[in-house]
Symmetry: C2
């Protein structure tokens, strides 16, 4: 029996409730098959398109109705955890019952602590929400000085937020407790609701997007996982991705991975954070392995003939 932490990409979940349910229905047999094989799984997921849709809806809501307040990113992330967790737990439960398996599934709303001194707060770069004119953006920055807007490649002005690294999963005891009692736990959605600690050790939400792959690596460490699966749209990590020289990677050491990172093989904001999160996990304790592959192939990845395996 191995413990496997699985990170699902937010993009793979689609842009509407119907798409999300369809994509989950496609992914679920592969995930539950890992349990059939005798392993224990714990799930986390991205929320890029989903939190964007929630944030933007509230922008429209607040602009059109004086009864609706704009909602900041930490609350939108909390909403996305409910929204995605609900569909995931319903979809997984369906497959479990179909196979007569007694496991239960739970989604935990989860806060993740970040460091207010994280360098990303000085240079927020993650765009969120709608495009605005320069005039609108300047007005909004005057009204809410904590919000920063930047010009986005000629397409207009857009709000940008920090993308800090996770340092602590606030609800980790709940996660471990459920995991110890035969529950499949869905947690830390979207990288977690970002919170910072004040001088009295109280947590406060902060407007940011935590890198979900790093949160997944931290979660995998906390639950003492043997494997971290990072599931995305491609079957492998590639060298020279998208060129004629493209070459898939099957099994690489942390050292090799570092060499490829230096050579610039992996795109920022896409494959790079996944490989970096994989490295962080495999180097956190001996014997740990990370697999980067597609959602549909997850169940084959324990055979080591699928996906890109990274070991320390």
């Amino acid at each position: 029996m191995k413990v496997i932490t699985i990170a699902l990409g937010g993009n793979a979940l689609g842009k509407t409730p119907a798409e999300q349910q369809e994509n989950i229905a496609i992914a679920v047999p592969s995930l539950v098959d890992l349990i059939t094989q005798g392993h224990k799984i714990i799930l986390t997921h991205g929320n890029g398109p989903q939190v964007g849709m929630i944030y933007k809806s509230f922008e429209y809501g607040a602009a059109n109705s004086d009864k609706i307040a704009a909602i900041d990113l930490q609350e939108c992330t909390a909403m996305s955890q409910g929204y995605i967790g609900y569909h995931l737990q319903q979809g997984i439960m369906k497959e479990l019952r179909h196979l007569g398996m007694p496991w239960n599934v739970s989604t935990l709303v989860s806060q993740v602590e970040v460091d207010p001194k994280d360098p990303s707060f000085k240079n927020p770069s993650k765009p969120i929400g709608d495009f605005y004119t320069q005039k609108e953006a300047l007005t909004m920055m005057r009204e809410k000085p904590e919000q920063i807007f930047k010009e986005d490649a000629g397409r207009g002005w857009r709000r940008v937020v920090a993308s800090p690294k996770p340092i602590y999963i606030v609800e980790q005891k709940s996660i471990l407790n459920l995991l110890d009692h035969k529950f499949i736990v869905i947690t830390c959605g979207g990288g977690g609701i970002p919170v910072i600690k004040d001088e009295n050790n109280n947590y406060h939400g902060v407007s940011a997007v935590i890198d979900k792959d790093f949160t997944a690596a931290m979660l995998a460490d906390i639950v003492e996982a043997h494997y971290l699966f990072i599931l995305t749209a491609v079957d492998h990590v590639y060298l020279h991705f998208g060129t004629k020289k493209q070459k898939e990677l099957k099994e690489i050491s942390a050292k090799q991975a570092r060499k490829y990172i230096k050579a610039g093989h992996f795109a920022e904001g896409s494959m790079l954070p996944k490989v970096e999160a994989a490295l962080r996990f495999v180097e956190s304790a001996p014997g740990r392995r990370a697999v980067i592959t597609s959602l549909e192939k997850a169940h084959l990845a324990m055979g080591d003939d699928v996906g890109t395996v990274i070991y320390s």
Copy 2:
């Protein structure tokens, strides 16, 4: 040590994130004081204003952007569980740490099964979302025949959904597991995400609003609570409410409560479901008591000199 299930009214939580955090900060000392007194608490909450705000924002989002889909009520309820649970768990944790108490707090995303034959599905009456013209409403009913719009007291047309009774809490094992291990659990928000079972025993979301007071009574039964606290805007249940003859009720038997219901003392959609839910709970096992009082006075209610106590 008594087990107390606490139902917080959604209206009491306010209409914006800032209001919600302020109201929670006011309520939390009273709730945590019950733990200091040696009791075990489990929380549920309404979501009327919050789910309305989410649903409407997506109406505006979908109307203004072809990248945003309208989101139906079950998904909006899931979002509201994340949104309210996040603030509640953060606020309660703050008070616990302030007092040096080792308890943890968790929000579980929860589905609640309803009966597709519930009579409320034949006559949906709970208004949600924005007002529309007759023409707009008729068009929408043609496009989505499962959605019903009704004329609302001369103010325009509005979508109406069913308000069925809960019959099963899908995630009850997760709730009990956490409760057994010194966790304060926040669950079944907004009465739960309404789901129905199909012929293959699979759950599907359904567009409805479950009566949260009845879900609270069911939750209290499942966790074998001694007390059900229904916390609202008033300190007591009243006879002749809002008239010169208004009289507060201190302690009443289930039999007396039934007599007052028959005499029409309690308003539908307001105090009536609370008294009915209290009755359901106190009559489900011997020795159980329900207390209806205000959020701020919850901690005094164990002294029996505050609120309206209902016993069987």
